[in-house]
């Protein structure tokens, strides 16, 4: 039996809920719905949208390809420095994104520790679309690693052994046992990663800049539009809010606690 909550707790909880929901209500109520079609038809918007999709999906793809193997190592194998590595992997989740951007510049910039090599190989990341993808992947990758690692931990690793004794090689085992059982975690990780990359602002503008058509993604467009065309900024914000809501709903039971 749980006792009835104290009035103080209930009161503060209501304030908290209102605090979280009020700004969103404001956003939706102030949105210029009548001019929506015209605003969304503007070429600046279409360019930013296309760029945002490219950058966020690219970041998600990088996170899948790199994050799943990292999650597998962290979940299934013991090696020196594993705990430290797991902690560091989570760092971008709590790091101020602008710091992430500066860090990326010092690492991958033309005079950065690895950037020199890239530069000589003819690859330029700062202030390019590829750089915006990298910035998104940097901040979003931890979401993939954390989600997939948790999924792997809930799988019985001995299923891999069972597959091996039945003649399945490593790749067959991964494709036919691990991957299907991990699918819900991959979806969840993918959705979170994508949402995080789509909303990325600080690291992107620091590392990749805000060149229209190349690195000016939707969040940056929102920020810049707020000065001159507040209506557009609100509308784009509502759009991004809708995307976040959709991601949350797609994760249903996992994050909303629904059955």
């Amino acid at each position: 039996m749980t006792r009835r909550p104290s009035p103080v707790v209930v009161g503060l909880a209501i304030v908290a809920a209102a605090f979280l929901l009020l700004p969103l209500t404001g956003l939706v109520s102030r949105a210029p719905w009548s001019g929506a079609a015209r605003e969304l038809g503007r070429p600046e918007f279409r360019t930013a949208l296309r760029l945002s999709l490219i950058c966020s999906l690219g970041a998600t793809a990088i996170s899948l390809v790199l994050g799943v193997p990292l999650a597998m190592l962290l979940a299934r194998h013991r090696f020196p420095g594993r705990r430290l590595l797991r902690g560091l992997v989570l760092l971008p989740m709590v790091l101020p994104p602008v710091v992430g951007g500066v860090a990326l510049l010092t690492a991958l910039g033309r005079r950065g520790i690895a950037g020199g090599l890239l530069h000589r190989a003819g690859i330029a990341l700062p202030f390019t679309t590829a750089g915006a993808v990298v910035a998104g992947a940097f901040v979003a990758l931890p979401f993939m690693v954390v989600t997939v690692e948790a999924g792997l931990r809930s799988l019985d690793a001995r299923l891999d052994d069972a597959a091996a004794t039945l003649g399945a090689g490593r790749w067959q085992t991964f494709r036919r046992v691990t991957l299907p059982l991990l699918a819900p975690s991959l979806w969840a990780g993918g959705a979170l990663t994508w949402a995080r990359a789509l909303g990325e602002f600080g690291a992107t503008i620091t590392f990749a800049g805000n060149a229209p058509g190349r690195t000016r993604t939707l969040p940056i467009e929102v920020y810049l539009a707020l000065e001159s065309r507040p209506e557009e900024a609100i509308l784009l914000s509502v759009l991004l809010l809708g995307v976040s809501l959709a991601v949350l709903l797609s994760l249903r039971g996992r994050w909303l606690g629904l059955p």
């Binding site: 019985d156 001995r158 299923l159 052994d161 069972a162 597959a163 091996a164 004794t165 039945l166 003649g167 399945a168 090689g169 067959q172 036919r176 046992v177 299907p180 059982l181």
Partner: protein, 344 residues
């Protein structure tokens, strides 16, 4: 023609160092307490754990150099370990399609294996919908379907209820015999070991402490664990003619006349319990306190303490008639002819 395994696996502080060989069409039971290294032994033979040292040969060909998927060793895991996302028939077809058998063909063959094991009608069921006994049979079908050279079974009957246990055991006997290759079975259960295995290997603390034909091991245990496992009272003693002096300093009279270190066993049913000093011929009579009374379906097992601790088994009626309970002082008697000795 046999499986010859010489397995050394070091996982500090644990060390498994065991050699065993299993002939074609022979079943060997690996028996031992928890943590003795039984599952480690199976894992090492199957190639799931790397050998620290040693070798595994089948008919003289080295297996230990091959990856698990190329060893041709079937392993039935402790709780079946079916793939939860695949139906029963797809679980069985899994190994076949990994070997390049086409989907339809693999399913057909899988279905035949399920039929053979009496679970054909459960083909479309997911593992979560199968009963414990059904899951074990599907797991056995899955292991057999890829036609392995060697079959390893890790506690294939553990944690089943009595009825599905005996049904599954019957299916196991039938298909193990039909299988024809070397078979190695890990079990906790003396009945399983005696009914399924030709030979027993006793593993304790990572070492083989006894091995031999199952009946012989059951009759002549050489460690406290084995004695407990097969349900005998075991003493290490020094024999001087018919008098045995146990390592705890107690005396037993046996029928033999050896002068050597011996093991002595007494069957619990050969121990008689009395409330008064018994009259008549028994050569071994002593008084002791009951430390434990364990009531089973038809028999009651009574454990007594003192320098000659012993377990006696009496009928439920006589246990009730004597009013046996913990702490009661009783007289125990054993005929000299019931004390079996063999060289230590």
């Amino acid at each position: 023609m046999s499986l010859d395994a010489n397995v050394v696996v070091r996982r500090d502080p644990f060390l498994l160092s065991a050699s065993l060989s299993v002939k074609r069409n022979e079943t060997v039971a690996v028996v031992g307490p928890n943590g003795a290294g039984k599952s480690t032994l199976l894992g090492a033979i199957a190639g799931l754990l790397p050998l620290t040292e040693g070798s595994i040969h089948l008919d003289g060909h080295p297996l230990h150099t091959r990856t698990p998927e190329r060893r041709g060793i079937g392993l039935v895991f402790q709780d079946g370990l079916l793939f939860p996302h695949l139906s029963a028939v797809d679980n069985v077809a899994f190994g076949l399609s990994c070997r390049g058998v086409r989907r339809g063909e693999a399913r057909q063959r899988a279905r035949r294996w399920l039929d053979a094991l009496g679970v054909g009608e459960r083909a479309p069921a997911r593992p979560a919908q199968l009963s414990g006994g059904e899951a074990r049979r599907v797991a056995l079908a899955r292991a057999l379907a890829v036609e392995p050279q060697v079959l390893l079974l890790d506690e294939p009957l553990a944690s089943l209820d009595a009825r599905s246990r005996s049904e599954t055991r019957a299916a196991l006997v039938e298909h193990m015999t039909a299988f024809g290759g070397p078979r190695l079975i890990v079990t906790h259960d003396p009945v399983d070991a005696l009914t399924l295995a030709d030979r027993m290997v006793i593993l304790e603390n990572g070492k083989v402490v006894q091995e031999g034909p199952a009946i012989e091991v059951a009759a002549r245990p050489r460690s406290a664990y084995v004695a407990e496992f097969v349900g005998l009272n075991l003493y290490r003693a020094r024999a001087e003619g018919e008098t045995l002096t146990t390592d705890d300093g107690a005396t037993l009279v046996a029928a033999g006349d050896a002068r050597a270190r011996v093991f002595a066993v007494v069957h619990p049913r050969a121990v008689a319990l009395h409330l008064e000093h018994p009259e008549g011929s028994p050569r071994n009579v002593w008084e002791a306190t009951i430390t434990e009374v364990e009531v089973q379906t038809e028999r009651t097992r009574v454990r007594t303490g003192g320098p000659l601790p012993i377990v006696a088994e009496v009928t439920a009626e006589s246990a009730a008639g004597l009013g046996l309970r913990r702490g009661l002082r009783v007289w125990l008697s054993v005929k000299a002819t019931e004390v079996q000795t063999y060289p230590a």
